[in-house]
């Protein structure tokens, strides 16, 4: 049976590992390589590393850092940040990374997704959509943002996700900006509708504060990726930095009860 994936998402900022709240106030949480080593020991399902400086600064991906991470990583690795050409994606795959994530560049130009899928294979192309819930009086629904939540694309995430799927994305990661760092649970309405409307693998990021939140996501969506930042780098009410991950029994428990809830719906 294919299992849901529980995926730590690490943010890199100025060479260090950070965690943000609503995409702001990066707090230093440690060294990326050290975190990878810990997640190796804990046998994490997958790892996502996003360089939050690269797109904003218009910089090239930091290939040396990516190569170091890939060499250390004994689980599948997805890298994102500053990737805007198929050639860059190809270079990154060549460094030993399984999947390359694109966000801003893909939202601007869907053909980039197609061209990248042609270069590295559809299965390795991940599109990350940073989504914010509209909270105006007459503005309902959701909107996609880029550049760490600073730039609105004025597009509907469901339409954009469909377009990315049609263009050749192998996976879509839905990242809820307003849930980032809140640790109060995933946006289940958003997640359930995405699962209903899309046919490719999906992961959700933003809001997980406990294993129950992951169970609730699986209960809503079935076999998907449950990604989290804060949950796996902080411990306790004062957010002490402590890299953690469910052990095999805990993981089985999360998946079992989540999927049982899903199938009984």
């Amino acid at each position: 049976m294919l299992r849901p994936r529980i995926i730590p998402c690490l943010l890199v900022h100025q060479g260090g590992l950070v965690k943000t709240v609503e995409f702001k106030d990066p707090k230093y949480v440690g060294d990326p390589i050290n975190a990878v080593k810990i997640f190796n020991e804990k046998e994490a399902d997958e790892l996502v590393v996003l360089d939050i400086d690269a797109s904003v600064n218009g910089a090239e991906p930091d290939y040396r850092m990516i190569a170091n991470l890939a060499a250390e990583c004994r689980m599948p690795l997805c890298y994102g940040g500053g990737v805007h050409t198929p050639k860059q994606a190809k270079t990154i795959i060549g460094l030993g990374v399984e999947k390359v994530a694109m966000s801003a560049a893909a939202a601007d130009d869907a053909t980039l997704v197609t061209r990248t899928a042609d270069a590295i294979g559809r299965q390795s192309v991940v599109v990350v959509l940073d989504v914010r819930r509209k909270n105006g009086l007459f503005a309902k629904g959701y909107e996609v943002f880029t550049h760490n939540g600073k730039r609105s694309t004025k597009t509907d995430p469901f339409e954009l996700a469909q377009a990315m799927q049609a263009a050749g994305a192998g996976e879509i990661v839905i990242n809820s900006i307003d849930r980032d760092g809140q640790m109060k649970g995933y946006d289940l309405t958003l997640a359930a509708r995405m699962r209903r409307e899309l046919r490719i693998p999906l992961s959700f990021l933003g809001g997980a504060g406990s294993y129950q939140d992951i169970e609730a996501l699986l209960g809503e969506c079935g076999v998907v990726g449950a990604s989290a930042g804060s949950l796996f780098v902080f411990k306790g009410p004062y957010r002490a930095v402590l890299i953690n991950y469910p052990n095999p029994e805990q993981k089985n428990g999360i998946c079992r009860s989540g999927l049982a809830a899903y199938s009984s719906k």
Partner: protein, 204 residues
């Protein structure tokens, strides 16, 4: 010495790292000359079937590999698209495969049993080894590996099926024909299960 065939596709470094951790010598080989002295071969690969076959052809290693595998009976382990190359042909392209294991590579999207499932087949899936398969020694009761693919190997000869996994139906996720082995999943990225399988291959 284990030689990892480096024709420009697949995560060769991950195999080097994994074998280093296991205390087993492994090197990359990027030409026929560098394949000399290989006692085991690993053939990685990602992406499209035809592209992989073209690159392997262009590397000049097809003929030396043919000699090593077919005549000297050096054990070879194909990984992911490297496993698919062992087949005679693929629905994904028009190139001929190596033809070391009888079968054809098929598309999940073309199979009614899996067409409704998310594609690609991605994530950790349980693997059911065939009885007595040397690759899965010690993994008979608990084998879990990371998959990332949209095409799968369909063996013509049931005796060549080394393991199955379920994705809408039980597909052939590992094959063996004598000294030729292949796995669709990524042992180099499958934690202790992957390490055990790569060690089993090294111990053959």
């Amino acid at each position: 010495m284990i030689h990892i065939v480096d024709y420009g596709l697949g995560n060769t470094q991950a195999f080097v790292n994994m074998y280093k951790r296991l205390g087993i010598e492994a090197v990359r080989a990027a030409s026929g000359a560098e394949l000399r002295g290989a006692s085991k071969l690993i053939l990685p690969g990602v992406g499209a079937f035809d592209h992989a076959m073209e690159l392997l052809d262009a590397s000049g290693m097809c003929q030396p590999l043919e000699w090593l595998v077919r005549e000297d009976k050096v054990p070879v382990l194909g990984i992911c698209v490297g496993m698919q190359l062992l087949a005679g042909s693929s629905d994904e392209g028009v190139s001929a495969g190596l033809g070391w294991v009888d079968g054809r590579v098929r598309s999940f999207a073309g199979n009614p049993a899996s067409v409704a499932l998310p594609m690609p087949h991605m994530g950790w899936n349980d693997v059911i080894p065939a009885a007595g398969s040397p690759l899965f020694k010690g993994l008979e009761e608990d084998a879990r590996f990371y998959f990332l693919h949209s095409f799968y190997f369909e063996c013509s000869d049931p005796a060549s099926v080394a393991a199955r996994a379920d994705y809408g139906f039980q597909f052939h996720c590992a094959v063996q024909n004598g000294n030729v082995f292949g796995v669709q999943f990524h042992p180099e990225k499958s934690h202790h299960w992957g390490a055990a399988l790569l060690k089993n291959f090294a111990d053959l």
